[in-house]
Structure formats: structure tokens, C-alpha cells
């Protein structure tokens, strides 16, 4: 049952990205271009998503000890702001600004098979692989960070 809902969640997520326009890099880049051809639409995507997720998660965690088809909620518990988080986010943002794709939209747009997408996705996977094989270079790296 959990497998069916995982597939369904992915499908709804992908359709949401398509409906919202976020699977279109031109629209994402225009959102990021405040001083040019600005298209504020994506603020509404983020707003709509959080407006559902925040109360949804809150209700869920208040009313249930476990998920419906699993035995534990896997929610990150860390709250330290280590350099690795900031470095990763900063690098991610640069890539996002260069191509207009983040991972979800890129995978959703993959079957449309635009040349740029077909190039982006394998390089994204390579980047993920590289990150997992990069030692933590920050000074506090050995203080028990994951």
C-alpha cells in the first residue's frame, strides 16, 4: 500500500509542478529576474505549497504517532547551522539561476526531452554523486555532523 501512495505522491507532485509552471525553466528564470522580464508566479507556487504543507504536517503530527503504512515519521531533527549547509545551498542556488531547473522540475520535464533537460539531468546525478564523495571541509566537520 505504501508503494502505491509513494507513486501517487510523485505523480501529484509532478502534475503540480506542471500546472504551476515550475517545470518550465523560462518561467523560473523570469521569476529570478526581478530587474528584467519579472514573472512573480513562482512566489505563488511556494506560497500555495507551504499553505497546504504547514497545516497538513501540523495536523498529522498532532493526531498520529505513526504514518498510516509505516512505523515512524522520518523528520530531520538537526538544528545546527553548519557551513556545509550554507555552502551547499549557495552552490545549488547558482546552478538553479544558471539553468532554471531544480531537481523536481528537471525530472518531471525529462520525458518532454528538450535538449537542455537531457543534458541537465545526467550532470545533476553526477553532481549528487560527487557531493556524496566529497569530505566535509568545514572546520567543525568532526563534531558529529552527518
Amino acid at each position: 500500500m505504501k508503494q502505491i501512495f509513494a507513486l501517487l505522491s510523485g505523480l501529484i507532485f509532478g502534475l503540480g509542478l506542471i500546472v504551476s509552471g515550475m517545470a518550465n525553466p523560462a518561467k523560473v528564470l523570469n521569476f529570478l529576474d526581478v530587474f528584467g522580464t519579472w514573472d512573480p508566479s513562482l512566489a505563488f507556487v511556494m506560497g500555495g505549497a507551504i499553505a497546504v504543507t504547514a497545516p497538513g504536517f501540523a495536523l498529522l503530527f498532532r493526531n498520529r504517532q505513526t504514518p498510516l503504512f509505516d512505523n515512524t515519521f522520518r523528520v530531520p531533527t538537526r538544528n545546527d547551522l553548519e557551513p556545509k549547509l550554507l555552502t551547499g545551498a549557495a552552490i545549488f542556488g547558482i546552478g538553479w539561476g544558471l539553468g532554471g531547473f531544480c531537481p523536481g522540475p528537471a525530472l518531471t520535464a525529462l520525458p518532454v526531452a528538450a535538449t537542455g533537460t537531457l543534458i541537465f539531468v545526467p550532470f545533476m546525478l553526477a553532481g549528487m554523486w560527487a557531493a556524496r564523495h566529497t569530505p566535509n571541509i568545514s572546520p567543525n566537520a568532526n563534531k558529529g555532523a552527518a
Binding site: 507513486l7 507532485f13 509542478l17 518550465n24 508566479s41 505563488f44 556545509k84 546552478g95 539561476g97
Partner: protein, 144 residues
């Protein structure tokens, strides 16, 4: 090139994304973070069930556009403006940064902010800032 401002469609699509995140948490107890789920598929050390669930979620993502084609008779409207070389560099940076920083737009931006996670709020502000600056530099300083 200009794109049309679509507040209602974007709000509706965003709410679907939120519904998906709540559904995955309610049924599987997992964060709908695309970079994390994708990485899990390729990580041999993660347990089989986690890999399976992650793979099915990503399969659902991949099926969305074909389903859209089937129902509407056309692919979703899309344009990839950046050059192939730029897309390769962008892919590397996005993949590396998302994995190194433990999350992307979905994991930090949607799920993390919804949980009130300080890490996710800081990460989201950071990647938004570098993305805005990158586009400004590319479009208005370099003129690419």
C-alpha cells in the same frame, strides 16, 4: 523572453505540491525532498524499502508529463533558454549543492519551511539569494 503571470494556476499547482508532501508523510512518513529521494535510489547502503519507495516516487514524477500529454493532447508548455554548456554546468552545481546542503527547493523550501526548521529557512534564503544574483549577473551584467 517574457512569460505570462499565472497567479491562480501557480497557486493551484503549489497546493498540489503541498498535498503530495502531506500525502507522502501521512502514508510513508517521508519528506518529499526530491534531491534526497533521488540520491536514495542510487545509494547502495540505504535499505531496500527506502530505495523502493524513493524510486516509485520519482517514477510518479516521470509519469506526470506523459499523463498530461495523454489527457490534454500536448506536452506541458516548456522552454529551456540556457545553452547546452550552461545546462551541463547548472546540472552539476544543482546536483552537488542540493546533496551537499541536504536539500533543494522541495525538501528545504517546501517541507522544511512548513516544519519551521531553522536550517531549511536559512538554506532557502541562501539559495534564493544566490539564484537572484546569478540571474542578475548573467542577464544584466554579462548579458547572456
Amino acid at each position: 523572453m517574457e512569460t505570462e503571470f499565472t497567479p491562480w494556476l501557480s497557486l493551484g499547482g503549489g497546493m498540489m505540491i503541498g498535498a503530495s508532501a502531506v500525502l507522502l508523510m501521512a502514508t510513508n512518513g517521508r519528506i518529499a525532498g526530491i534531491s534526497g529521494l533521488t540520491a536514495k535510489i542510487f545509494t547502495r547502503s540505504s535499505d531496500g524499502e527506502a530505495r523502493g519507495v524513493s524510486a516509485l516516487f520519482v517514477l510518479g514524477l516521470l509519469l506526470a508529463a506523459p499523463l498530461w500529454l495523454l489527457v490534454s493532447g500536448g506536452w506541458p508548455q516548456q522552454w529551456v533558454p540556457s545553452s547546452p554548456v550552461l545546462m551541463a554546468v547548472a546540472g552539476l552545481l544543482v546536483g552537488f549543492g542540493a546533496s551537499y546542503g541536504n536539500g533543494c527547493t522541495s525538501g528545504h523550501g517546501v517541507c522544511g519551511i512548513s516544519r519551521g526548521s531553522a536550517r531549511s529557512i536559512v538554506a532557502t534564503v541562501t539559495f534564493m539569494a544566490t539564484a537572484f544574483v546569478t540571474v542578475f549577473v548573467m542577464r544584466h551584467l554579462i548579458g547572456a
